[in-house]
C-alpha cells in the first residue's frame, strides 16, 4: 500500500501559516495553502509580494520564522536544501543560477546528484561500481537534455547559451533530480513570445509525466493558459485562490494589480 492510498486527501505540499521575517521586514505573513498532486499550480502577485521568498522556504534555502511546511505529510521546514532535494522537491531560480563555466551536460549531471552515491574514495580509486554509475549519469543526463530539446548544445559552457536556453537548461537540471514537485521561479522572465509558448508546452509535458509543477510567473497569458489553480499573494499575505477563470474576475486581485501596483 503506498502512502497516497492511505491518505487519499492529503495534498502533496501543505503550507501551514508560513511566516518569514527579515529583521524588520515581514516578507511572508502566514501563508496557508495546499498544493494537490499532479497539477500545474501558479503563484502570482506583484513584485515584492514574497513569491520568491516562499519558494526559498519550500526548497530550504530559507527557514521560515514560523509555521509548518509538509511535503507528502512530512514536515520539511528547516531541513537543509540538499535533503529537501533528496525528498523530491526541485527548483529553478528567478535569476538564472547555472554553473556557468561547466558544460550544459555537466549542469544536468549535477542534477543527478541526489539519486547517485559514489563518494571521494570510490571516485578517486575508480571502483567499477562508480564507473557504472558514472556511465548511467551520463546517459540519463542526455535523456533530460533531449526531453527539453537542448541535446545540440550539450558540450557548450552553460554561460555561453542565450538567456532563453539557460532558463530551459535550469529546468532540465531540476528535472534530473527526479522531483515529485518542481518549483519554477519566473521561468518566462526575459523570454520572447515564441520561447514562452514553447516553455508553456514544456511545462505541460512535465506535468503529464506526473510531476506537480508550481510556478511563479508574471506572464498572465502563460499562467492562464497552463495552470489548473492559482494562488495570489500580496504583501506576504494570501489574497485569493481559485481556477484561472475565478482569479481573472476576482475583485481583490484586480484591486491589488491595478491599485497597489
Amino acid at each position: 500500500m503506498d502512502e497516497r492510498s492511505k491518505r487519499p486527501h492529503a495534498a502533496l505540499l501543505q503550507l501551514r501559516n508560513v511566516q518569514m521575517q527579515f529583521g524588520g521586514v515581514t516578507a511572508l505573513k502566514g501563508i496557508s495553502y495546499d498544493v494537490p498532486s499532479g497539477i500545474v499550480q501558479a503563484v502570482i502577485g506583484p513584485n515584492g509580494a514574497g513569491k520568491t521568498t516562499l519558494f526559498h522556504c519550500i526548497s530550504g534555502l530559507l527557514t521560515p520564522t514560523a509555521g509548518e511546511i509538509l511535503f507528502r505529510g512530512l514536515p520539511i521546514g528547516g531541513l537543509p536544501p540538499h535533503r529537501i532535494a533528496g525528498l523530491g522537491i526541485s527548483r529553478t531560480f528567478q535569476h538564472v543560477a547555472l554553473f556557468k563555466s561547466m558544460t550544459v551536460l555537466e549542469n544536468v549531471m549535477i542534477g543527478r546528484h541526489p539519486r547517485t552515491f559514489s563518494g571521494f574514495w570510490s571516485a578517486g580509486l575508480r571502483f567499477p561500481r562508480m564507473r557504472r554509475e558514472e556511465r548511467r549519469i551520463l546517459e540519463e543526463a542526455g535523456h533530460y537534455l533531449e526531453f527539453v530539446g537542448l541535446s545540440g548544445e550539450r558540450d557548450l559552457p552553460a554561460g555561453a547559451l542565450p538567456l532563453g536556453k539557460q532558463k530551459i537548461l535550469e529546468i532540465a537540471r531540476a528535472l534530473a533530480t527526479q522531483p515529485t514537485l518542481l518549483l519554477l521561479d519566473e521561468p518566462a522572465g526575459g523570454l520572447n513570445m515564441r520561447e514562452t509558448e514553447e516553455l508553456g508546452e514544456l511545462i505541460l509535458r512535465i506535468c503529464e509525466t506526473g510531476i506537480t509543477v508550481t510556478l511563479v510567473e508574471h506572464d498572465m497569458n502563460l499562467v492562464m493558459e497552463i495552470s489548473h489553480r492559482i494562488l495570489v499573494i500580496h504583501y506576504g499575505e494570501h489574497l485569493a485562490t481559485g481556477t484561472p477563470e475565478e482569479i481573472k474576475d476576482h475583485p481583490a486581485v484586480i484591486e491589488a494589480y491595478l491599485g497597489g501596483g
Binding site: 526548497s59 530550504g60 534555502l61 537543509p80 536544501p81 540538499h82 532535494a85 533528496g86 526541485s90 527548483r91 531560480f93 538564472v96 543560477a97 547555472l98 554553473f99 556557468k100 563555466s101 561547466m102 555537466e106 549531471m109 549535477i110 542534477g111 543527478r112 546528484h113 541526489p114 539519486r115 547517485t116 559514489s118 563518494g119 571521494f120 571516485a123 578517486g124 580509486l125 575508480r126 562508480m130 554509475e133 558514472e134 549519469i137 557548450l156 559552457p157 554561460g159 555561453a160 547559451l161 542565450p162 538567456l163 539557460q166 537540471r173 531540476a174 533530480t177 526575459g190
Partner: protein, 317 residues
C-alpha cells in the same frame, strides 16, 4: 580523465622520468634533481590546494600548518619514539585529517575574506604551538638527525632514488585527484564554487563536501610533510609559517589554479624560483614574491595555463 589529460599525463610522466638523465651529466645543473625532489613534495601540497581553492573555491591560508602537522608527527614519532616511518606517516595524515575536520566544520561555514582570516588564524596558532612546545618539537631551533626512509627494504639514500619515489607518489595523487574531478564528487565541488545555493538546491550537501575536500587537502599536505621530514632529516618551525601557506597558494596561482596541470607547472616553476633563482636576492626575495603574487593576481588570475587554453565566451545572463 579526458583523452587530452591522458596524453598530457603520459608526456609529463616521460618528461619527469627523463629529467634526471638530462640534467645530471651537466655539472652546473646536476643539483636540479634535488630541487625537483622539493618540487615534488610541494606538488603534493599544491594538488590539495588546487582541489580546495581552484575547484571547490574555498580559501585556505593554513596549508603550511597541515604540512607542519605531518612533518612534526613523523619527526616526533620516528625521532623520539623510534617508530617506523611508514607507521608515523599515516599517523600524521590521520592527525591532520582530524584537525582539518574539527576546524573545517565551523570554518567552512564562512566564506571569502572570513574564511581566509579564520584559516590564517588557525595556521598562526599551529605555528605558535610548534614554537612553544619545546619538549616535543624542539621549539624554534627544531629537530635534527631524523631518520631517512626505506621503501620496500631499500633505503632511499640518493637524491635520484628520492626523486623517483616522490614523483611516483605525486603521479599517484594526481591520478586520484583527476578521477575525483571527473566524477560526481568533482562536479559537485565545481558547482559549489560557481553557485553554492543552486548546488545545495540540486541536492549537493555542500557543507559536507567542503569539509571533505578540506580534509583531502590536509591529508595531502601532511603526507608531503612526512616526506619532507625524512628527506631533509631536520626541521624547524620556519618552514611551516604563514609565508609558506602563501607560497603554496602562489605556486598554484602562477600555474593556474583551475587546472591540476597548472598547479604542477606552477609548483615546479616557483620551486626553482625559490630554491635556485632568487638566491641573488637573499632575504629580500620576499619582495619578489610579493611582486609576483600581485602581478599574477592582477593580470593573470587564471595562471600560466590560461595562456595555452582558449576559453569560450561566457555571457552573464
Amino acid at each position: 580523465m579526458t583523452r587530452k589529460d591522458w596524453r598530457i599525463f603520459l608526456l609529463t610522466a616521460l618528461l619527469i622520468a627523463a629529467f634526471p638523465w638530462m640534467v645530471q651529466p651537466v655539472k652546473a645543473v646536476s643539483h636540479y634533481v634535488d630541487v625537483m625532489v622539493f618540487a615534488g613534495i610541494f606538488a603534493l601540497v599544491c594538488l590539495g590546494v588546487t582541489m580546495l581553492m581552484g575547484y571547490a573555491g574555498q580559501v585556505s591560508m593554513a596549508q603550511a600548518a597541515f604540512f607542519g602537522i605531518g612533518a612534526y608527527t613523523s619527526a616526533i614519532l620516528t625521532g623520539r619514539f623510534a617508530l617506523d616511518p611508514w607507521l608515523a606517516m599515516p599517523a600524521g595524515a590521520s592527525l591532520a585529517a582530524l584537525v582539518a575536520w574539527v576546524v573545517g566544520i565551523p570554518a567552512l561555514r564562512l566564506k571569502g575574506h572570513y574564511l581566509a582570516m579564520a584559516t590564517l588564524g588557525f595556521g598562526v596558532i599551529v605555528h605558535i604551538i610548534l614554537n612553544e612546545e619545546v619538549e616535543w618539537t624542539g621549539g624554534p631551533s627544531g629537530m635534527a638527525d631524523l631518520p631517512g626512509l626505506h621503501v620496500l627494504g631499500w633505503k632511499l639514500s640518493t637524491e635520484l632514488a628520492w626523486y623517483y619515489f616522490v614523483w611516483g607518489t605525486v603521479f599517484l595523487a594526481l591520478l586520484f585527484c583527476f578521477h575525483v574531478l571527473h566524477s560526481r564528487v568533482g562536479r559537485a565541488l565545481r558547482a559549489i564554487h560557481e553557485e553554492e545555493s543552486a548546488a545545495e538546491a540540486m541536492g549537493v550537501p555542500t557543507a559536507r563536501y567542503k569539509v571533505q575536500v578540506f580534509v583531502l587537502s590536509a591529508v595531502l599536505a601532511a603526507v608531503a610533510g612526512s616526506l619532507y621530514t625524512h628527506f631533509v632529516t631536520c626541521l624547524n618551525p620556519s618552514s611551516f609559517n604563514l609565508m609558506w601557506s602563501i607560497r603554496f597558494i602562489l605556486m598554484v596561482m602562477v600555474g593556474g589554479m583551475q587546472s591540476l596541470w597548472g598547479a604542477l607547472l606552477g609548483t615546479v616553476l616557483m620551486t626553482f624560483v625559490g630554491n635556485e633563482w632568487l638566491h641573488v636576492f637573499a632575504e629580500f626575495e620576499i619582495l619578489v614574491y610579493g611582486a609576483i603574487l600581485l602581478v599574477v593576481a592582477l593580470f593573470l588570475p587564471k595562471g600560466l595555463v590560461s595562456l595555452f587554453t582558449r576559453k569560450p565566451i561566457v555571457h552573464n545572463a
